[in-house]
């Protein structure tokens, strides 16, 4: 003990220096997204190395790879499915059902799925962000939608070369156009910042028929998500006092506390859509 104290005293200058630098670095990490994403890169590769060693020891060695394969498979299926949303030339009789092999632009679908890995996520803050392991190099850009196998997860906000940050649905800044699947009534999905299992659906008129258990899906009007992607299930229905709108509490389909694999949805026609929505619309009398 005496030696320890003597040691600490002897090198106290150095220890104090390390302590102060550590404080400064923690401050930096909390402050700057860019530094955060670079740091997460480092910690990601470190923990990745540790995990891969652990995998070699245990019998779960193939689990990760299998999972990856499954995700790739899902991507193919989803890409094939989303072809339903595109318009084919009337004369085109040839409908290649495996058309991810086709290179004809007429067969491209509007939405392309990119498999991603969630590497950071929070659920207990008023504005929750998540981080995914792909970035600009994989063609990920701002305002793209994030989903997983269960439903909508969030929207990309910042992109670096290899990583992206996204707002999760558990963010008080998020407002997403949604509809009730049963009667196609439009509404807006928000989060009140309280609890991560439930969100709220607003702007649904109170004269419509909404029941507990109804499914809430994306409306497809936002160009971020395709139509009919699961968001959640209605839990409680009440009418906002003084308005004729419902206040609907719903349960999220995605479990935000255990995000693992997911997809980023690229809208390949976004430029075209933007170009026509920026043109001033003619006045129709």
């Amino acid at each position: 003990m005496r030696y320890l104290l003597a040691f600490l005293k002897k090198y106290s200058f150095f220890f104090l220096f390390i302590l102060l630098e550590a404080i400064a670095f923690i401050w930096m990490m909390n402050g700057l997204n860019y530094q955060r994403s670079v740091m997460a890169n480092l910690s990601g590769s470190l923990s990745g190395a540790v995990y891969s060693v652990a995998n070699n020891i245990t019998d779960f060695a193939n689990l990760g790879r299998e999972n990856e394969k499954l995700v790739q498979e899902n991507v193919r299926l989803r890409n094939a499915l989303s072809h339903k949303k595109t318009y084919y030339p009337v004369d085109s009789v040839v409908y290649d059902t495996l058309n991810y092999t086709t290179r004809d632009s007429a067969f491209y679908s509007q939405f392309v799925y990119e498999p991603v890995n969630f590497i950071h996520n929070t659920v207990h803050k008023p504005n929750n962000y998540l981080m995914i392991d792909k970035g600009r190099k994989e063609g990920i850009g701002q305002d793209m939608g994030i989903v997983n196998g269960s439903g909508v997860v969030g929207i990309i906000t910042d992109v670096s070369n290899n990583f992206s940050w996204g707002m999760s649905m558990l963010n008080t800044n998020i407002k997403l156009s949604a509809k009730l699947k049963r009667n196609n009534q439009l509404g807006t999905v928000e989060w009140d910042g309280k609890e991560f299992r439930h969100g709220k659906l607003t702007d649904v008129p109170a004269h419509t028929n909404v029941k507990t258990g109804d499914t809430i899906v994306t409306s497809g009007y936002s160009q971020v998500f395709p139509e009919d992607i699961m968001i959640g299930f209605v839990d409680e229905v009440s009418v906002n006092e003084g308005t004729n709108l419902y206040a609907i509490r719903f349960r999220y389909a995605a479990d935000f506390n255990s995000l693992d694999y997911g997809y980023v949805i690229k809208n390949v026609m976004i430029k075209e859509i933007d170009s026509i929505s920026n043109i001033q619309k003619p006045v129709i009398n």
């Binding site: 200058f13 104090l16 220096f17 404080i23 400064a24 923690i26 401050w27 860019y34």
Partner: protein
């Protein structure tokens, strides 16, 4: 002495935050004159206090310029290096008789070497942390050297205009 240092600290932080942080010639010019405060602290200051003052100075600059700990890290590093640099640039214990680093006390040559080494260390740490990558190494080196030279020039101007009172 203490009062002088407090006044100098306030003035340097004010000049840094109000004037120098706003200057943006050619994009790359951002000198950090506030390091002058650490440069001219008395020789007799305990090393621990030196570190804490370094951290505190950087932290104050960070708070004002929204840089989240970058300056605190760089200035702490500079304070950490200061005793070693003093030993390096001095002949045998010549600073034991002097009170604080300065041109009048230690001579122009001594002060020039002493401050250029410390400013370079500070700026290197600062700009590397700011960029947080070595992707554009030449640009990074250019920014470090350019701003170190400008800061050094400013340090000399301030030193001549407001010589440290004994």
């Amino acid at each position: 002495m203490t009062i002088n240092n407090i006044i100098r600290f306030i003035l340097l932080v004010a000049v840094q935050v109000i004037i120098l942080n706003k200057i943006n010639f050619s994009g790359y010019v951002d000198p950090y004159l506030y390091v002058f405060f650490i440069l001219v602290l008395p020789f007799s200051i305990p090393r621990g206090a030196l570190l804490l003052l370094g951290f505190f100075t950087g932290a104050v600059i960070d708070v004002f310029s929204h840089t989240y700990g970058v300056h605190a890290a760089a200035t702490t590093f500079m304070a950490f290096a200061r005793p070693g640099v003093i030993r390096m640039v001095s002949k045998k214990q010549e600073y034991e008789t002097a009170s604080a680093p300065g041109i009048s006390e230690m001579g122009l040559r001594w002060f020039y070497f002493y401050s250029s080494v410390l400013i370079l260390l500070h700026h290197a740490m600062l700009f590397v942390l700011e960029a947080f990558s070595f992707d554009h190494l030449i640009l990074l080196a250019y920014r470090i050297v350019l701003n170190a030279v400008i800061t050094l020039a400013l340090v000399f101007i301030v030193h001549y205009l407001f010589p440290a009172q004994k």
